[in-house]
Symmetry: C2
Subunit: 108 residues, 2 copies
């Protein structure tokens, strides 16, 4: 039930792939359109798109002979949630507040 975070984290580990996500945040793009934005072959970009798809971060739909790549930002949710576990270490004031709350509602 809990999603496997590994493919998403791995997909995010490459700067080109992170750039692709930002690009797709603006608009859907074909493979050729994405490739135009990078100084590498279409085949290389295609591999990145496959890894992004493996991580669920993008979806691909066929449209004629083209493949339209779309951002699937929802897949970032589990990643954010994983990172959110560390929120407790970010701000000692927030920490103090949490302690107070937990004291009042001991539900652990």
């Amino acid at each position: 039930m809990t999603p496997d975070l590994q493919p998403a984290f791995r997909a995010l580990a490459d700067p080109t792939r992170r750039d692709i996500l930002r690009l797709l945040g603006d608009r859907d793009m074909t493979i050729a359109e994405v490739s135009d934005q990078f100084d590498m072959t279409r085949a290389a970009v295609k591999k990145h798109l496959v890894m992004l798809s493996d991580g669920g971060l993008i979806t691909v739909r066929a449209e004629g002979r083209e493949r339209i790549n779309s951002l699937n930002a929802q897949a970032l949710r589990p990643v954010m949630d994983w990172l959110g576990w560390f929120d407790r270490f970010w701000d000692t004031r927030l920490d103090a507040l949490k302690s107070v709350i937990e004291q009042e509602t001991p539900d652990d």
Copy 2:
């Protein structure tokens, strides 16, 4: 000025390293203590710790012949911020709310 996200994202790409971060969230640990939690050699764990350190996700202090590894959750902040850019795609209702707020307090 804006931090280089790459070392942090790369550090997060490995499941063992993510597990180490959670471990260090509970308490500081020596290299040997961390190694005890995994089915691999101390040298391998040490390499993971170096990568975590490279990403700024942990800090290491010497204490006698031991090296105490501590979580540095603050380094996750830029990662969260990067991911936060995609918040706009998660919930259209939240989007609408944000638009209203931004209209009322135009401070960008």
